[in-house]
Each structure stands twice: as C-alpha cells, then as structure tokens.
Symmetry: C2
Subunit: 131 residues, 2 copies
DNA sequence: TCTTGCCTTAGAGTTCACACGAAGGTTTAG
DNA sequence: CTAAACCTTCGTGTGAACTCTAAGGCAAGA
C-alpha cells in the first residue's frame, strides 16, 4: 500500500508516517522503482501498534527503544517481552493517576459550593480519604 | 512559605511556579519587604489544585479560563462547574483508551511467540474481539 | 566586609511531536 | 504533450510548556 493509503487507513498524516520512520519507530519502508514507499502487511502492523501506544500516551522515546530491540532479532525476545510488560505497567500507572484525579474532580464537583478551600482537606480528597 | 518551600512541597520548579503565576494560573502572590514571594495557605491550595489538573492532562489554556471565571466571582459558578464536568469527561475518555490499550498489550504478551503478525487480527484484538 | 547563596525580572533557548514549504522527480487524466 | 496531482528529501516553522541565562538586589555566615 502507498503512503496515501496508509495515511488514510490510520488517520495519520504522511508527515507523521515519514517522521516515525525517520526516528526508527517504524521499520525502513521498502521503495518501488521510483523511490516511492510501499507499505507491506508487516509495516502496517507496526503502524497500527505504534499508533495504539502513542494514543495511550506512550512517549516516542520509549517506543524507539522497543523497536530497536525488536530489530536486533530473536535473541532479544526476553528483553522485548519484558518491555511489553513494562509498557503495560506504565499504562496501569497512568490509569491509576487518572482515576485518582477523576475522584478528586468528583469531590470538587460535589462540594462545588464550599468556597473555603483548605489545603489539607484537598489533599485528603485527592488521596481518596474523603468521600 | 517562600518559593523554595513551595517548590519542594509540590515537586515543581520555581520557574514553573513563576510561569504559572505570570500566566494567571495562580493568584498574584504577595511579596515581603524585599520583594520575595510569600505563599499563603490559599495560594498553596491553588498550587495543589492546578498541579492535580495539570497532572491529569488539563491544558494551561483551559485552566486559565477556569481561574479567570473563578476571579469573576459567584455569577460564573455555572460555567466553572460545567468546565469541571467537561474535564471529568475528558479523563473518562482517556481512561477508556488506556484500558483498551492495556487489553491489547495483554493480547500481545500472551501471543508473544506468534511472530506472524496479521493486521486484521491485531485490530480485532485491539477492539476486544479476540480473547 | 567578603563571599556564598538565596531571590528578582526580562528575555532568550529548549524539547517534543509534529507540520509546512521549497525544489524537484513521477504518474495519470485529458 | 502537458498540466494536475502525486511522491521524494531537506530544512525550517509551530505551539505548548517549560527552562535557562544574564544582570542585579538581598541575606547570612566566617
């Protein structure tokens, strides 16, 4: 598939696809006789994978490390699997932070009329020790 | 409390505290005779509050709007409350995205040995239609 | 008093993750 | 055949949110 197709399929700009490839976030995409990119099924998989993790807030830097190990081949299977596990943990942490803030917002919405802010009470609310 | 104390208490740089104040994200902090900032209890509350919402991904711009409404007093209560509710919804959406990606990673971890990636199957896994 | 280490401001620099523009080659529709 | 509409690279621009530098005032210990 050409870059335009991939761009549309995944709702990413062509610039972003080229940018990701340049940084090593995608494998080097094969070119046809005119030097145009031709994305293989495998390439598309990478795009899908990277997009999912970028969507979830994973940094480019963390993803570059993963792809680098992947490229180094099979003997890195252990490291790569543990990177997946690490990535999962990162997301889990992020989810907890978000849940905490959601609860804090709920507290602030419920107590919206209480104008006398007290720092200790805010902290308790944030840490889930109020309500 | 002086700026150094607040910086340490909330794990924010002094630059960030001054930056937030300059943008109107914090109230104007009172100064002592030498022109040094002295943070009141109320100021600390704001720092805590802003930090929590920044942590949760709320933009500076949205927070400026919120603080501006707050300063305008009681008649903006409705708008402010709905901003809180909007923000809560954003976080909820973000949480759902993260949960989806966690499930996808679980699938990838479980099927780590399957090297024959297939894009359609990845998509199904991501959307929760496999496993 | 001198030195070290705070604090202040204004303005410039940095980082991240793209987005854009120019210059030029290729493909396709009429 | 030519004009529109693609593609390429290289380099620069953008916006958000800091982060740092310079120049100078204030404070506290030897």
């Amino acid at each position: 598939m050409n870059i335009n197709g991939v761009s549309k399929q995944f709702d990413l700009t062509k610039d972003t696809l080229r940018y990701w490839e340049r940084l090593g976030l995608l494998p080097e995409i094969k070119r046809n006789d005119s030097g145009y990119r031709e994305y293989s099924e495998r390439d598309m998989n990478w795009v899908f994978y990277i997009k999912a993790l970028r969507n979830a807030g994973m940094s480019i830097e963390a993803l570059i490390e993963f792809v680098k190990l992947y490229r180094e081949g099979k003997q890195t299977a252990g490291s790569r699997k543990s990177l997946l596990v690490d990535q999962r943990q990162d997301l889990e942490d992020q989810r907890k932070k978000i849940e905490k803030t959601i609860k804090y917002l709920d507290y602030k919405i419920d107590h919206f009329e209480d104008h006398t802010l007290n720092y200790e009470r805010e902290k308790l609310a944030y840490d889930g020790n109020i309500q």
